[in-house]
C-alpha cells in the first residue's frame, strides 16, 4: 500500500474534527478554570469549616451531642456513669434529671460540672455518625445547617447559639474533675472559635464535600 493511500483516512478524520479542535481548546480551558474555581471553593470550605469541626468534635461538645439515648463523659468519651439516660426531654429520666447533679455552675468540692440548663442536645442534633464516632466534616456541616434538624436555626441563629448559649460557653470553662484535674477545653480558644465561625458564615457557610 502506498503512503498516500494510508494517510487518506487520517486526513479525513482531521477534516471531520476541525470544528471540535476550533472550539475544543477554549472549552477545555473554560472547564479547567471552572474546575479550578470549584476546587478552590471546596478547598475554602474545607479550610473555613475545619477549625469549627475541631471544636464541635471535641469531647466537651460531642459528649452531649450524642446519637445515643445516654450522654458520655470524659476525654475518652465513656458512657455516663450510673447508666444515666437521655429521657424524653433530653434532661434525664423522671427522678434522675441532669439537674439533679449538674447545677448552674461547676462544683469545685465534688468536681461535678455545671452550667445553666444542663442537658443533652436533641437526637436530631447528634454530631455522631455512629455511636461514639464523630461525623466527618462534610456531614457535620450539613447537619449543622439542616434547619429540619438544627432547631430551625439560620446561620445567624447558629452564630448566636455558638456565642451566647451558656452550655456552649461552658466548654471553655469546664472546671476541674473529681481529682481536681482541669478538664481539657476545645483545641481553639473561644475567641478564635467565634472568629472562625463568623468567617465561615461570612463566606456563605460553605460545606466541605
Amino acid at each position: 500500500m502506498s503512503r498516500a493511500a494510508s494517510d487518506a483516512p487520517r486526513a479525513r478524520s482531521l477534516s471531520t474534527h476541525a470544528p471540535l479542535s476550533r472550539f475544543g481548546v477554549p472549552l477545555f480551558f473554560v472547564l479547567l478554570v471552572t474546575l479550578h474555581l470549584a476546587a478552590n471553593a471546596w478547598g475554602a470550605a474545607d479550610e473555613l469549616f475545619a477549625p469549627i469541626a475541631r471544636v464541635m468534635t471535641h469531647p466537651r461538645c460531642l459528649n452531649c451531642h450524642t446519637s445515643t439515648d445516654y450522654p458520655r463523659q470524659g476525654d475518652d468519651r465513656h458512657r455516663h456513669l450510673f447508666l444515666v439516660v437521655r429521657g424524653d426531654d433530653n434532661r434525664g429520666a423522671p427522678g434522675a434529671h441532669c439537674g439533679n447533679c449538674h447545677g448552674g455552675a461547676n462544683q469545685s468540692a465534688s468536681g461535678v460540672p455545671g452550667a445553666p440548663g444542663w442537658r443533652l442536645a436533641p437526637l436530631d442534633m447528634a454530631w455522631e455518625g455512629t455511636p461514639g464516632v464523630a461525623m466527618d466534616n462534610a456531614g457535620l456541616c450539613r447537619r449543622l445547617l439542616d434547619r429540619q434538624r438544627n432547631g430551625g436555626r439560620d446561620s445567624a441563629a447558629l452564630e448566636r447559639h455558638m456565642t451566647e448559649e451558656p452550655l456552649v460557653a461552658w466548654a471553655w470553662a469546664p472546671g476541674k474533675d473529681r481529682l481536681q484535674e482541669g478538664r481539657a477545653p476545645p483545641p481553639l480558644s473561644q475567641a478564635d472559635f467565634i472568629a472562625a465561625f463568623r468567617a465561615w458564615r461570612a463566606a456563605g457557610a460553605p460545606c466541605p464535600e
Binding site: L83, V84, P94, G95, A96, G103, V112
Partner: protein, 204 residues
Amino acid sequence: MIELIVNGKRQRVDVEPDTPLLWVLREQLGLTGTKFGCGIAACGACTVHFEGQPVRSCSFPVSAAAGKRITTIEGLGAGPGRPHPLQTAWIQVQVPQCGYCQSGMIMAAAALLNETPAPSDEQIGAAMTNICRCGTYARVKTAIHEAAHALQAGNSHQALHSHQSHHPDPVRPSHHAGHAGETGPAPATGATALGVDSGRRANG
C-alpha cells in the same frame, strides 16, 4: 448569712457560699439522716429535695439553696409516727441492710413517685442511680412498687398530700420531724436510717 427553708422551717446559717448543702444540713442544722458517701455526686447517699427535685447535696452549694425549700429524710413524712408511704414500704419489705445509703434511696424514690406515680421496672431503673454496696436493689424496686400501690390505692392519702405539697406553709414555728433518733454521722440502720420515728425497726 444564708437563709434556707429546711423541712418547712426557716433557718439561717453563717457559712461560706460554696459550702456543700450536705455539710450545712449535717453540721449546722444537725440533720444527720442525710449521708456523706462519695462526695462527688456519684452514690446518691446525700440526696435531698430542692424545691421538690432530688439533688445530690454533696455537690450543691448552699448559696444556690438560699430562700428555697429543702426537704431531707427527716421531713419527708407527715410528722412523727406518720411516715411517708415509701418509708412504710421500706420497713415492710425490709429493704436496708447496713442502711447507710437508704435515706438517699428513699429521697430519690420519693422524687420518682412525684413525677411517675406508677413507675415500671424500667422507669425505676432509670431513676434510681443511687449506689448500694449491700446490693439491696431488688428490694428497693419491690418497695417502690409497694409504695406506689399504696399511694394509688389511697391508703396513705394524707401522707401523699403532705409529701406532694411539701409543707405549704414554709414558715412553721418548730421543726416537726426531729432527727428521727439519729444524732451522729455513723451509719444508721433500720428505721432510723429511714428517718422514721416508729416503734418498728428493720433488720440491723
